[in-house]
């Protein structure tokens, strides 16, 4: 047995005759920070659902380290005002955490001022911070985030990713994140996995942006724009590209 926390081996999911996931394998080891990217409809959410065991793949195997503790940050949470619940009560629902741990995480995620607020009045950015705080409670081994900054503006995204980086470097934890924010992902040095029903390419951003599959998936302009984050000297504009790829971006 390897020391992987969570791994997917040869996962296949077919729905209505479409291959959503085609022989996908992904391994998350200790202290990995893996970002999953890909166009809409590429199967990112499905892969996440399979990994979290929300969905049973048609074939393939999901393996989990025994007693793996997962902290999950969903894309969004819309708290209805019909339920009166404070941030503090929400954070402590089903979570065993000492007051000291809670205090530390509140400070780290900048949510200390929110604890007595009703959950239903939080702004989008505040809610994502609270969700991150909740995921970090009770010392998880793995953090799984599903487009966590999707509904934030650009400065909100920047702040969220900074906070996540800080949380990562501060503890012994692995992270698996689905993200649409290519500009943020590509400016980091973490491992990126590009998915389009199968795994197109994976590696550090500077490697990914040169990969032919990445270029064909996101287009040459996008690939160049992304690689700028690492090779700002490398400016060869080529406007004669012609792509025939029929990727569904809907």
């Amino acid at each position: 047995m390897t020391n992987h926390l969570l791994s997917a081996d040869n996962i296949c999911v077919t729905r209505d005759g479409n291959n959503i996931l085609d022989n996908v394998s992904l391994h998350i080891a200790k202290q990995d920070f893996i970002t999953l990217i890909g166009p809409n409809g590429a199967g990112k959410s499905m892969l996440l659902k399979c990994l979290l065991e929300f969905y049973q793949p048609d074939s393939g195997e999901i393996r989990r380290k025994p007693d793996l503790k997962i902290g999950y940050v969903p894309q969004r949470l819309i708290a209805e005002p019909t339920m009166p619940i404070s941030v503090q009560r929400f954070l402590q629902l089903r979570k065993k955490s000492s007051p000291q741990e809670l205090q530390e995480i509140l400070l780290e995620t900048d949510t200390l001022a929110l604890v007595n607020k009703p959950l239903s009045v939080l702004s989008g950015g505040e809610m994502q911070r609270v969700l991150l705080a909740r995921a970090l409670l009770d010392s998880p081994d793995l953090l799984v985030l599903d487009e966590p900054a999707q509904n934030l503006d650009i400065s909100g995204q920047l702040a969220f990713y900074k906070r996540l980086d800080f949380a990562f470097s501060n503890r012994d934890i692995s992270i698996l994140m689905v993200s649409h924010d290519l500009h943020m992902v590509m400016s980091s040095t973490k491992q990126v996995v590009c998915l389009y029903h199968h795994i197109c390419c994976s590696g550090k951003p500077e490697v990914i942006t040169k990969d032919p599959e990445f270029i064909s998936l996101f287009g040459e302009d996008m690939a160049k724009m992304m690689s700028v984050y690492h090779h700002s000297h490398d400016h060869q504009h080529d406007h004669s590209h012609n792509h025939n790829h029929q990727h569904n971006h809907g």
Partner: protein, 268 residues
């Protein structure tokens, strides 16, 4: 003298039955409000009349036949829902009114002159038997114990299903439990407020409690208390003015809501 003791014991029994039902309905009612299950509860209650009819037809305990039919109804509904052919409210509408009508037709075909349909439509708390009381106590205690055990899982699931799933809450089990609890509460509430008014016992105290509470637990406790106060007030009104008890209880709950809501809404 004997008459007075008799009077006291039947009144106490009614009061106890009513308060026990209000306690359980008040707590479960919070989930009905949070999860928008009011129409589901109403449909379940309507289907109960068919259960009453079948109980009379087969000569079995009406509490039992109601419970069985409501469970069957809930299972059928979930099964149809998963087919996704029709919207849930359409399905509920078909099944609720279908079951209510079938129940009415079946009862009229039974042709029992002594049968008073109003007792089932609007409740008749003053005729609660000790057998009914047993159903209320056992069913109510089971529902309360389930709620207490699964409370935080149910609250988390209500806030965000995937979050609860990721934290290994068994969603399917929780949904089945919620449905079963609704079925039990509907079955035991029929005697107190009747088929047509069960939903109000679930949602009115909970809605009033929402205005007064700042945590899910407090909302549940306040809702239960308001429900019990409504039962006491309703019984008193009904004795004093000789009005039907079920509607008097619901009218009291509504009165409490009407008194509390404007004061607190202004503050918000």
């Amino acid at each position: 003298m004997d008459l007075l003791i008799e009077f006291d014991s039947f009144l106490l029994r009614s009061l106890f039955a009513g308060m026990a039902v209000a306690l359980v309905a008040g707590v479960l009612g919070c989930f009905v409000v949070w999860r928008r299950m009011a129409y589901f509860g109403d449909s379940l209650a309507h289907s109960a009349l068919l259960g009453v009819a079948l109980g009379l037809l087969w000569g079995i305990d009406i509490n039992l036949s109601t419970l069985l039919l409501c469970s069957l109804f809930a299972i059928l509904l979930v099964w149809l829902q998963q087919r996704r052919l029709l919207a849930t409210d359409t399905l509920l509408g078909i099944m609720a009114h279908g079951a209510l009508s079938l129940g009415m037709v079946a009862i009229s075909l039974l042709n029992k002159p002594s049968f008073d349909i109003n007792r089932y439509l609007f409740g008749d708390i003053l005729t609660v038997s000790s057998n009914d009381l047993l159903w209320i106590v056992v069913g109510g205690a089971a529902v309360l114990a389930t709620l207490a055990l699964c409370w935080s899982s149910l609250v988390l699931m209500t806030l965000h299903e995937d979050l609860a799933k990721a934290e290994s809450v068994n969603i399917l089990l929780m949904q089945i439990l919620l449905m079963t609890m609704m079925t039990v509460v509907v079955a035991i509430s029929i005697r107190v407020v009747g088929i047509l008014l069960i939903t109000s016992l679930l949602i009115i105290p909970a809605a009033t409690a929402r205005l007064l509470a700042n945590s899910p637990e407090r909302m549940a406790i306040i809702s239960a208390l308001l429900g019990m106060v409504s039962v006491i007030l309703g019984l008193l009104f009904s004795l004093w003015l000789d009005t039907p008890t079920g509607p008097s209880i619901v009218a009291s709950a509504t009165l409490l809501f009407a008194l509390i809501a404007p004061v607190l809404l202004r503050k918000h």
